[in-house]
Symmetry: C2
Subunit: 354 residues, 2 copies
């Protein structure tokens, strides 16, 4: 049960396919990629360029928000213990925040085709899939600890970066340049290096079943992320809060089932809110906002930006922890941070070659 | 005196300036860099392309030889202890090998302006400089251990990679692309990561004087390497064996002085060859051949190729040691090797952008 507290920083619900190319073209334009031959067919007008700028701003803001929220999240985890009902509370809060945001939009703009809450079976049918994938992954998490210890699992979780990149390429059919692939490998190696400690070598003794489970979990996590992006981008004009609402309502449902199975007795005896300290509440808010930030990054940027953002958050967390908790930074951390920084540079430098 | 045994793998005498651009242009051509605008002015004929191919072959062979020799060198060091007279023996053997090679060339081609051993003061005046730089660096090596332990020194020696890159740029005025600079930073971080062990963090406690000495030593080592390249490339038609002879004869002289100062009593009492086991002799041969390979790399390639080659040798050494000595490879080693591999790819990918 202790292992329940260990959870991916990047496990929150995340963010469609068809119109992603137009978005990408704009972001490529903004990064000065005049060599991109697809641009020839775009025919940008002044309005388009204004819209592109606004979108770029939005993309930057949500990415920054995700980075800050994720890093403060990890710090809050040190302060607090996480209950089984925690996930449910986070999903509920995300639903509530999405509804409040929607109510404000309805008041301002009125109810339109794009921001009405009601949906069609055709639209909503795909929304439970990411939540179901995460559920399977979380179930597997209980079993992997028969083969790997908790710090080893933290190391193996970096496989998520590679799986996200590979599935992003295969499922969303979006291309990364060779330099960007190199950057992605470096991001994985750098994050892992930054987390190295004197016990890390034990992960090399992981039995075959452990590796298989770790790879399956990384694929599930990566697939859930990429699938969320596909869902959210499928209808770009659809209001993000409606999309979030439908994503989170299924998250609520799955977590309610998890409570029934695992914690029903404890909830009945002690009440749902037993053990909710102010820190827990703070964490739930932080986690909910991070989840929404992830959705926003999926809508206005992509899974790749999300992976870089959460990786930087991991490093920021360590630096902030030095001041807050007196942690010591290792040489491995400096080397890992150097490699991640070069990876970020290469990811943007690699864009221009496309 | 124990510290004497610790010595840079890349400390051997190394390899002029003006005509380096033509060589570089050919190698850029071979790597398919059709975008290189300098090519427009080259006007390649069939003979030129044949010569370029032959040069590329030569460059590859000497680089491969250096890599294999350096890695087997490090393995031989584990088997054997190194005497103070060792350096002197290596330099003497290198002189002898150069003379034998020259004798064969004279027999085949006759004595020409380019392969005659006699020299002018104007030509030879710069040859003692690399040897003198190494001498100063080796003297400093005795003092740095007041501030850093031996494994810490091994970590700090990776600063050589950065110093070589910076001095290569400043002194030889050769340009690296941004991607290639990124690759160089990665090479440094990757090599350091591969060497990490549970005591590596102690290097972070190195006092200020230790850092200054490590940086000065890295600059001396880098400067000696770059200066050797400048000397050897200054007159491209000059036979490499003559150039090596003059480099090594000064190395012999400086090491003879070092023996007089440090080991004179021991040599007088026990004889010069005391302690020379077959392994020692094998090592001296290996080290001498490595030194000559470094000179060849300086003549037909450059310091950057040399740094990559010796880095790969370091990794090869570790892998071979697993089989020979039952060493265990750490997770840090795998991560470092991954980063170094990506750095090598980026170094060649970065070329095409130039």
């Amino acid at each position: 049960m202790e292992y329940r507290k260990i959870r991916d920083e990047g496990d929150d619900r995340e963010t469609g396919i068809e119109d992603v190319e137009s978005l990408r073209e704009k972001s490529v334009l903004l990064s000065g990629a005049v060599l991109d031959n697809r641009l020839a067919s775009v025919g940008e007008t002044k309005t388009d360029s204004h819209r592109a700028k606004a979108k770029w701003k939005l993309k930057s803001v949500v990415t920054l928000a995700l980075t800050i929220l994720t890093s403060s999240q990890a710090i809050l985890i040190v302060w607090s213990k996480r209950a089984g009902k925690y996930e449910y509370s986070v999903e509920t809060l995300k639903c509530a925040i999405s509804l409040v945001a929607l109510a404000r939009i309805w008041k301002k703009e009125g109810v339109t085709e794009d921001n009405r809450l009601s949906t069609t079976l055709d639209e909503v049918i795909v929304y439970p899939i990411p939540a179901a994938l995460y559920l399977v992954k979380n179930l597997l998490q209980y079993y992997i600890f028969a083969y790997v210890d908790a710090p080893g699992y933290q190391i193996l979780k970096n496989l998520n970066i590679i799986s996200t990149g590979v599935l992003y390429r295969i499922i969303l059919k979006k291309r990364l340049s060779e330099i960007q692939w190199a950057a992605f490998i470096l991001l994985t190696a750098g994050c892992t290096t930054a987390q190295l400690n004197s016990n890390s070598d034990r992960v090399l003794q992981t039995p075959f079943q452990g590796w298989v489970m770790a790879i399956v979990m990384a694929l599930l996590s990566g697939f859930a992320g990429v699938y969320t992006e596909a869902i959210i981008k499928k209808r770009p004009s659809r209001n993000i809060n409606v999309q979030n609402f439908w994503l989170y309502i299924f998250g609520m449902g799955f977590n309610a089932i998890a409570i029934l199975v695992q914690d029903f007795d404890a909830v009945m005896k002690k009440g749902f809110l037993h053990g909710y300290s102010p820190i827990t509440v703070l964490m739930i808010f932080n986690h909910a906002l991070s989840g929404i930030a992830v959705s926003m990054v999926m809508k206005y940027a992509d899974n790749i930006v999300k992976v870089y953002s959460t990786s930087v958050a991991m490093l920021l967390t360590a630096v902030v922890s030095v001041y807050l908790f007196g942690f010591h930074l290792s040489l491995a951390f400096f080397l890992g941070t150097t490699v991640v920084s070069v990876a970020i540079y290469l990811h943007s430098a690699g864009k221009m070659q496309r």
